[in-house]
C-alpha cells in the first residue's frame, strides 16, 4: 500500500494516572474510509484528539505524508488539511450557516475594508450554499441562526465545513449518532464521496453494520493500543466485537500492530448482541 496520509506511531498519552493511549498506532490512507472502533475507554477520542491537534502526545510520533509533524493546536492541523467533525458538532448556534462554515477563517472584502476586517458576506453565503448542495442539502434560508435548523441540517453544516476545507484527512466522530434513517444514509453517502476525492476519511462509530457497509478498513483500539487492522470486506461483526472486547487479543502490541488480516475464527464468541441500538429519529 502507498504511504499513509496521516499516521500515528507508538503514541502514548497519559492523563494523570490514566494511560489513555499506551503506544497506539493508526494509519489513514488517501481515498480510503477507515473506521476507528473500540469499546468505551479504549482511547478513540484521545487518539483522534492527538491526530487532530487538540491533544499533544506524551510519546510517539505523528507522521503527515511520511514526515513527522507536531500540531500545536487544531488550527495547525486544519492548516495541514486535517479537519474534524466533533460529536457535539462544534457549531456557534447563534450564527448562520455561512458564518459557521467560515468560523475562524472568515472571508473579508478586498482593499481597505478587508484590512479593517469587514466580511464578504455575499461570497461566504454563495460558497456555503454550494458546499451544502454538494451534500444534497438545501437550506431554505442561509441567514437564519444554525439553532433554528433541524438536527440533520445542523449535522450537514458541520460535515460541510470539514469537507470544504479538508484536503488530506477528515475525522468524523459518531457522525450519524443523532440522525434519522434518511439523513444517516445521506451522511454515509457523503463519506464515500469525500473519500473518492482522494481524502482520507476516518469514521469513529459504534454502529457495526454501518462501519462494515461504508468502511474499506477497520482499525480496532483496545486499552490504548491498536489490536487489529482488518479489511472490512473480509471481516464480520463477530470478529470486530471479538477484537474490541479482547477475546481476539494477541496481547503483544508490536505483534498487534502488524496484524492486518485477522485469524479465521475468533477464539470466543461474544455472548450478547454487540451492536448498540441505532438512536431514535430525532424530533
Amino acid at each position: 500500500m502507498a504511504e499513509p496520509l496521516l499516521e500515528a506511531r507508538g503514541v502514548v498519552k497519559r492523563f494523570g494516572h490514566v494511560h489513555a493511549l499506551q503506544g497506539a498506532d493508526f494509519a489513514a490512507y488517501a481515498g480510503e474510509v477507515v473506521a476507528l472502533i473500540g469499546d468505551n475507554g479504549a482511547g478513540k477520542s484521545t487518539l483522534v484528539g492527538v491526530l487532530s491537534g487538540v491533544l499533544a502526545p506524551d510519546e510517539g510520533a505523528i507522521l503527515l505524508d511520511g514526515a513527522p509533524v507536531r500540531f500545536a493546536g487544531p488550527q495547525d492541523a486544519r492548516r495541514a488539511g486535517v479537519e474534524t467533525v466533533y460529536q457535539d458538532l462544534s457549531l456557534a448556534q447563534d450564527l448562520d450557516a455561512p458564518a459557521n462554515l467560515y468560523l475562524g477563517r472568515e472571508l473579508v472584502r478586498k482593499g481597505v475594508l478587508g484590512r479593517l476586517g469587514v466580511l464578504d458576506r455575499p461570497a461566504m453565503r454563495r460558497d456555503a450554499v454550494r458546499a451544502f448542495a454538494e451534500l444534497g442539502v438545501t437550506l431554505k434560508d442561509p441567514t437564519v441562526p444554525v439553532a433554528a435548523l433541524s438536527g440533520g441540517q445542523r449535522q450537514s453544516v458541520a460535515v460541510a465545513r470539514a469537507v470544504a476545507f479538508a484536503n488530506r484527512v477528515v475525522f468524523l466522530d459518531e457522525p450519524t449518532a443523532a440522525l434519522g434513517v434518511v439523513q444517516r444514509a445521506r451522511v454515509l453517502e457523503t463519506v464515500r464521496r469525500v473519500a473518492d476525492r482522494g481524502i482520507g476519511v476516518v469514521l469513529i462509530s459504534h454502529n457495526m453494520p454501518e462501519v462494515l457497509s461504508v468502511a474499506d478498513r477497520v482499525e480496532v483500539l483496545r486499552l490504548g493500543r491498536r489490536v487489529a487492522s482488518l479489511r472490512a470486506a473480509d471481516t464480520t461483526i463477530e470478529e470486530l466485537v471479538g477484537a474490541m472486547t479482547g477475546s481476539l487479543d494477541r496481547g503483544d502490541a508490536a505483534d498487534a500492530a502488524t496484524l492486518v488480516a485477522a485469524p479465521e475464527t475468533p477464539l470466543e464468541r461474544p455472548q450478547q448482541e454487540p451492536e448498540p441500538q441505532p438512536s431514535e429519529e430525532e424530533a
Binding site: L103, L119, A133, D141, A147
Partner: protein, 345 residues
C-alpha cells in the same frame, strides 16, 4: 482564501436562497419589539401632553442625558454578547475621571490650556482601557466568572479613586476649555455630546455587525469551545472586549467631566444597572451570542423617554423605575422562552 476545492459544479441556481416575506423577517428581529415599545411611549406622551412633550428642548435634553449611557451601553453590548457582564463601569468611569481630573488640577485647573485638556482625555481613555484589559485578562483565565471579576473591580476602582481624593470631589477637575466645547457646545444645534455618542455608536455598531471582530464576539458568546477549535483566540478576544468596555468608560468620564465639571465620586454606583438594563431591553441576550448595538440604542432611550415623559404629564417620575423594572424582567423572560422553543425544535 476560498475553499480548497476547485472542481465543484456550480449548482447555485437550484439552491438560491428563498427570502422570507419581509414582515415575517422583521417580526423575528428582536429590536422591532423594543422599538415598538419606544414608539408607543413617544406617541402616548405626545398625545397626553400635546405641545409639551416632543419639543426640541425635550429631545435635546433626553439625548444629552442618554449620551453617556449610550457610550457605556455600546461597550456593554459587546461584553454581554460574549456571555459576560461588567459591573465595574461606574467605578471605572469615576477612576478615569479622577485620574484625568488630578492631572488637570496640577496643570492649570479651570483655566488649563488645550494641551492639558488633550493629556486629560488620553489619561482617562488609557486608565479606562487598562482597567478593562486587566479585568478581561482575569475573565479569560476562566477561573473566576465575569460577575465576580467585575464586582471586585467595582470595589477596587472606586477605592483607588477615593484614596486618591480622600473621598471628596476635588475642585478644578475640568478645564473651561473642555466644558465650553464638548460640555455645552453645539454643532448646528446638536450638542457635541450627542454627536460624539452617535459617532461611537455608529462605528462600534458597524464593527459588531459587519466585521470579523464582531463575528468572533458572537461566536465566543455562542460556543466558546467551538470558537477555540475554529482557531479563534478566545482569551485574547475577551481581553479586547473588556478593554473596549473600559475605554468607553474612560470616554464616558471625559463626557461626564465636560458636562458636569466634577468627578461625582458617589454618583455612579447605579450606572452598571442602568446600562445593563438598557442592553437587555434592547434584546441582547444575557446568555450570550445574540444582540445588537441598535437594540441598545432603543434600550437606552426607553428609560430616558419614560422619565422625561412622566415629568411632562405630571406623574411622579419615580414610576419610571417601577415601569423599567417590570419591562426588564419581562424582556429576559421572553428571551428565555424563545431560547427554549428554539432548542426544542
Amino acid at each position: 482564501m476560498t475553499t480548497t476545492e476547485t472542481g465543484r459544479p456550480p449548482h447555485t441556481d437550484t439552491v438560491t436562497a428563498r427570502t422570507p416575506p419581509l414582515l415575517r423577517r422583521a417580526a423575528g428581529v428582536s429590536e422591532l419589539w423594543t422599538f415598538l415599545i419606544l414608539a408607543a411611549l413617544v406617541v402616548f406622551f405626545t398625545l397626553a401632553a400635546p405641545g409639551k412633550f416632543f419639543t426640541a428642548y425635550d429631545l435635546t435634553q433626553i439625548a444629552v442625558n442618554a449620551a453617556i449611557y449610550l457610550v457605556l451601553g455600546v461597550g456593554m453590548t459587546y461584553v454581554v454578547i460574549t456571555a459576560g457582564i461588567d459591573l465595574s463601569i461606574g467605578s471605572v468611569l469615576v477612576l478615569a475621571a479622577v485620574a484625568a481630573g488630578e492631572w488637570n488640577i496640577h496643570h492649570g485647573g479651570a483655566g488649563a490650556g488645550w494641551g492639558t485638556v488633550a493629556v486629560c482625555v488620553v489619561i482617562a481613555l488609557v486608565v479606562g482601557a487598562a482597567w478593562g484589559a486587566l479585568q478581561g485578562a482575569v475573565v479569560a483565565t476562566e477561573k473566576v466568572p465575569p460577575l465576580i471579576v467585575t464586582l471586585g473591580g467595582l470595589g477596587a476602582a472606586l477605592g483607588i479613586a477615593e484614596l486618591a481624593t480622600g473621598g471628596q470631589d476635588p475642585a478644578d477637575t475640568a478645564a473651561n476649555n473642555l466644558q465650553n466645547t464638548l460640555g455645552y457646545g453645539k454643532l448646528l444645534g446638536i450638542p457635541w455630546l450627542v454627536i460624539l455618542a452617535a459617532a461611537v455608536t455608529l462605528v462600534f455598531g458597524l464593527v459588531l455587525g459587519t466585521t470579523r471582530f464582531g463575528t468572533h464576539t458572537f461566536a465566543i458568546g455562542s460556543n466558546p469551545a467551538a470558537s477555540r477549535r475554529a482557531g479563534i483566540r478566545v482569551g485574547a478576544h475577551l481581553v479586547k472586549v473588556y478593554a473596549l468596555m473600559g475605554l468607553l468608560a474612560g470616554l464616558g468620564a471625559v463626557m461626564w467631566l465636560a458636562s458636569y465639571g466634577t468627578t461625582s465620586i458617589a454618583g455612579h454606583s447605579t450606572d452598571n444597572l442602568k446600562v445593563i438594563t438598557a442592553v437587555v431591553l434592547g434584546g441582547t441576550s444575557l446568555f450570550g451570542g445574540r444582540g445588537s448595538v441598535l437594540g441598545t440604542v432603543i434600550g437606552v432611550f426607553i428609560p430616558a423617554v419614560l422619565s422625561t415623559g412622566l415629568i411632562v404629564i405630571g406623574v411622579q417620575q419615580y414610576w419610571q423605575d417601577v415601569a423599567v423594572g417590570v419591562v426588564l424582567v419581562a424582556a429576559v423572560y421572553i428571551d428565555q422562552m424563545r431560547r427554549r422553543t428554539r432548542e426544542r425544535s
